[in-house]
C-alpha cells in the first residue's frame, strides 16, 4: 500500500478574482468585509474595483486577526490600495473627481489588491509600480 504523502502547505496554484464595485456598493461594512474574507479564505487573490473606507480597512484588519488560528492555514492577508495620485491635480479637477466619486458611491479610480498571506508573501508598492511576491 502506498503511504499517503504528508500534506504540504506549499501552494501549487492560485486564482485571481475580480470584484466590481457594483457588487459591494449596496452592502453595509459588515457584509463587505464578510464577502472579501470569504473570497480570501477560498485561497484567491482579490482585485477589488475601488477602495474601502478607512474604518472598513481597520475593520478588515480586526476581522482578519480574529480569524487567525480559527481558519485552517490562515495567517492573515496582504493588502495594497493603488489610487490615482491626486497631488498634481488642480482644485477643479479634484472637485470634479469628488463629485464623480460621490455619484458612484466610492473611489472607482482606485484598485485594492488583497491576498491570503499563505499565497502572497509581500506586496511591494512603490509610487509607480506594484509587485506581488508569492510564497
Amino acid at each position: 500500500m502506498v503511504k499517503k504523502k504528508k500534506k504540504l502547505r506549499k501552494i501549487k496554484g492560485f486564482a485571481i478574482q475580480f470584484l466590481p464595485y457594483s457588487e459591494i456598493r449596496d452592502l453595509n461594512s459588515t457584509e463587505r468585509i464578510k464577502k472579501i474574507l470569504t473570497i480570501i479564505f477560498g485561497q484567491n487573490i482579490l482585485i477589488l474595483q475601488g477602495k474601502l473606507k478607512p474604518d472598513e480597512e481597520t475593520r478588515l484588519i480586526e476581522d482578519t486577526m480574529a480569524m487567525i488560528g480559527h481558519v485552517k492555514n490562515f495567517s492573515g492577508i496582504e493588502l495594497a490600495v493603488i489610487s490615482g495620485n491626486g497631488n498634481n491635480q488642480s482644485y477643479f479637477t479634484k472637485m470634479k473627481q469628488g463629485i464623480a466619486n460621490a455619484l458612484a458611491g466610492g473611489d472607482l479610480g482606485a484598485i485594492t489588491i488583497i491576498g491570503p498571506a499563505t499565497i502572497v508573501k509581500e506586496i511591494k508598492r512603490n509610487p509607480k509600480k506594484i509587485e506581488l511576491m508569492l510564497n
Partner: protein, 214 residues
C-alpha cells in the same frame, strides 16, 4: 437669570484656576519592530526615570496597551503633561512560524502569535481615544505599506493630529527622504530612539501639535 449667569461665569473661572493640568493622550502607533516602545521608553526615562515596557528584536514584543500616566515633558522652559500610550504593532498577518526563526519553542510561538493578534485588535480599538498620535516608522523599511496608510487614514477621519517619526536614522540604510516623499502632507521627524538622536526636533513638533488639542 442674571444671577445664574454671573454665578456660572465665576464658577468656570475658579474651576479653571484650580483645575489640575489635563493630560494629553499621546499614542504611539505603527508597524511591529519600528521602535514605538524604544521611543516611549526614551521619553519616559528622560522625564520620569522609568521605562514603559520591554523591547526585543523579535516582532510583537508589545502585545498589550502600555501606559505611563502624567509624564511632564519640559522643553525649553515650557511644560506639558502627557499620558503616554504605547500600542502593539499593527499588522495584517501573523504567522507563529515566523517566531520559530528566533529559536522560540512551538508552543511559545503559538502563544505569542495569539496574543499578537489580540494586540492588533486592541490597538485599533484605542484609536478613538487618542488626542495626538505619533506614527513610528522604521526608516530602513519601505514606507509604502498599506498598514501605515490605513492608520493615517483613520486618524485623519477622526481629526486626530499626526506626527510621523522616521526612526533608526543611525542605521546606514535609513532613508528619511523616502518617508517624506511618501507622506508629503505630514511633518516627518527623523530620530534614533535607541541613541536619543534628534529628540529636540521631536519635542518641538509634539508641543506644536499638542497645542491643537482642544
Amino acid at each position: 437669570m442674571v444671577i445664574k449667569i454671573v454665578k456660572n461665569f465665576f464658577k468656570k473661572i475658579f474651576s479653571n484656576m484650580f483645575r489640575e493640568k489635563k493630560s494629553i493622550k499621546l499614542g504611539f502607533y505603527g508597524p511591529p519592530n519600528a521602535g514605538k516602545t524604544s521611543l516611549a521608553n526614551r521619553i519616559c526615562k528622560d522625564f520620569t526615570g522609568e521605562e514603559i515596557g520591554s523591547v526585543s528584536k523579535i516582532p510583537h514584543e508589545t502585545r498589550t496597551i502600555q501606559f505611563k500616566e502624567k509624564v511632564e515633558i519640559d522643553y525649553k522652559g515650557k511644560k506639558m503633561v502627557f499620558k503616554m500610550i504605547d500600542t502593539p504593532g499593527i499588522a495584517t498577518k501573523i504567522d507563529y512560524e515566523d517566531f520559530l526563526k528566533y529559536k522560540m519553542k512551538k508552543k511559545e510561538a503559538k502563544k505569542r502569535a495569539k496574543e499578537a493578534t489580540q494586540g492588533v485588535v486592541e490597538s485599533i480599538k484605542w484609536l478613538d481615544d487618542m488626542d495626538v498620535v505619533v506614527i513610528v516608522l522604521d526608516a530602513t523599511e519601505n514606507p509604502y505599506n498599506q498598514v501605515n496608510i490605513t492608520i493615517i487614514g483613520n486618524l485623519v477621519a477622526r481629526k486626530i493630529p499626526v506626527l510621523i517619526v522616521a526612526n533608526k536614522i543611525d542605521l546606514k540604510k535609513a532613508e528619511v527622504k523616502k518617508i517624506e516623499v511618501a507622506f508629503p502632507e505630514y511633518e516627518v521627524v527623523g530620530i534614533s530612539a535607541k541613541h536619543g538622536k534628534n529628540l529636540e526636533e521631536f519635542y518641538e513638533s509634539i508641543f506644536k501639535l499638542s497645542k491643537k488639542v482642544k
